[in-house]
């Protein structure tokens, strides 16, 4: 929030000298608004196309000669109805949600404790533990999924959403720990010292002082983890076999893409519905999201 308040002031200060060079409004239009408009148009077009396809009847979908493809003349809910009642889509959504909530909770707990230990309970070698956790973030899932599949089989978790809940923290914990270390750093250490002098135990300090002050950080980490685990694909593809246990991204690609004739309407409706929860969730907490993204990079 503070970020957005401070920003216009900075921009104002920068705009003031700029006006000397950029005196004409036309030039500003050509150099800023036009390219910006193109960027927004291109970045948003696939979503528009996705949305418009999911409400188009099949006749319009495959006939550009008689219908303007950029608009719908007779919108229909047939694709969405097909998705919700003729496929296991609600089930996939439900699984995805539980996996995302489960892995987010698990990684938040683990990374809050780890970040507190590394940043506040300073011990010999704590910077190295922190560095080790950062490095874990640089190990991409594409290298790990094959051996992880055998580990998951060994644990008897193959084809179970529980496997995903346990595996997703491998990329969530490093990120969240990184983010929370930054947040804990910004909380004055004197507050904790006061509490220590007053006889509070370490756990009381964590619960009563540090955590309430780190709530924005926890929210950022939580949103980030939720979207990352909602979007995860390769592990879910490799570890889940039965149709009922699949997550939305995997299920749409493996269960809805059938035969030679693609059901574009249903596919796009599925993509739209699968994107909406993260998009809505994201729009509620945009500021936290942006600050966590930029904060993590700045660290």
């Amino acid at each position: 929030m503070t970020d957005t308040v401070a920003q216009p002031a900075v921009a104002d200060a920068k705009a003031a000298p700029d006006t000397m060079a950029w005196d004409s409004g036309l030039r500003r239009l050509m150099m800023i608004y036009l390219p910006l408009g193109c960027f927004v148009l291109i970045l948003l077009f696939p979503f528009y196309w996705m949305a418009i396809t999911s409400f188009k009847p099949n006749a319009e979908l495959l006939n550009y000669k008689q219908h303007n493809p950029f608009w719908i003349s007779s919108p229909t809910l047939a694709h969405i109805k097909h998705l919700l009642f003729d496929t296991a889509y609600p089930r996939w959504l439900w699984t995805t949600m539980w996996v995302a909530i489960g892995s987010t909770t698990l990684s938040l707990i683990a990374s809050t404790l780890a970040a507190y230990a590394i940043e506040r309970l300073r011990f010999r070698g704590s910077p190295y533990v922190g560095l080790g956790i950062y490095l874990a973030y640089l190990v991409p899932p594409s290298i790990l999924f094959i051996p992880l599949a055998t580990v998951v089989v060994q644990f008897g978790l193959f084809d179970s959403p529980l496997a995903l809940i346990l595996v997703y923290p491998t990329f969530l914990v490093p990120f969240c720990t990184w983010l929370l270390i930054g947040y804990f750093k910004s909380i004055p250490y004197e507050l904790e010292e006061c509490a220590l002098v007053d006889g509070a135990t370490r756990l009381q300090i964590l619960r009563r002082i540090t955590l309430p002050l780190a709530v924005p950080g926890l929210i950022s980490a939580g949103i980030f983890s939720f979207t990352l685990s909602w979007n995860e694909f390769i592990y879910a593809l490799a570890f889940i076999q039965s149709g009922a246990n699949k997550t939305v991204p995997v299920a749409i690609l493996t269960e809805l893409v059938t035969g030679d004739v693609y059901q574009w309407g249903a596919l796009m409706a599925g993509s739209l519905l699968g994107s909406l929860p993260v998009a809505v969730f994201y729009s509620l907490f945009v500021d936290y999201y942006v600050s966590s993204l930029t904060g993590a990079v700045k660290e």
Partner: protein, 318 residues
Amino acid sequence: MSVTTLSSPALAQRQPSWLVRLFDYKPFLIVMCLAPAIGLLTVFLTYPLGLGIWLAFTDTTIGRKGVYVGLENFQYLLTDPLWWNAVFYSVVYTGIATFGKFALGFWLALLLNNHFPFKSLLRAIILLPWIVPTVLSALAFWWIYDPQFSIISYLLVDVLHWRSSNIDFLGSAWPARFSLIAANIWRGIPFVAISLLAGLQTISPSLYEAAMLDGASAWQRFRYITFPMMMPILAIVMTFSIIFTFTDFQLVYAITRGGPVNSTHLLATLAFQRGIAGGELGEGAAIAVSMIPFLVFATLFSYFGLARRKWQQGESND
């Protein structure tokens, strides 16, 4: 009577204080706090990483424990044209996509750094491609790249009359490769732009004022102030971007699955095809392990190549 009433509260107070004292004992607390994170990462990250390297030296298949075969898997890969093809495309894909993402992302960040109305709304909208599950937006691209009903072909052929026939985006090797790269750039721009915007906002306006007093042109201000000041953040963002572009899986798997005729396989999709779909775990693991040298090289190159500028200028390491 009085003795019992006195001793029981005292006892009750001592009973929890033993537990409390244990939890206040710093070494114990450190171990307790680090245990969940370190445990999870050891079991599901470090151990599989080691296991993956071990698997690459065995002939394990699904359902059969393999034996140590030395470098056989790697020797086989070196003679396999498909592996070479995947290496080639992974490098091309990473190179062009990273260049595109950073050129366009930096431009977008510079545009967003200007003052205009609805700025935070615009910033929120721009991040959307990055928020939405990649596979789902990849499906939208698949539909956009449809050979018959592509909206891009429609625009070029029927609206603008620039071409006479539809573009066959995914039907042959090079168009398919570039279509995938375009989709990857589209997805990567928001992350680069928003991270770089954060970096731009930390540059002090007084530097620009000083430069303008000295008569620096807009290009000189960009070249000698913006660009050097952005180097450290560029290095970090680029390292991440290169790692995750090189090991990309979702876009290619969703749009082409490596086709046509295996021309768009990245190392990750090839590893999946051989390791999980084909059941040759050992060979798949070898392909995955063969990504590691490239990643280490790319990381060192982008990090030290770009970050070096910072300490050459003698800035403090914050």
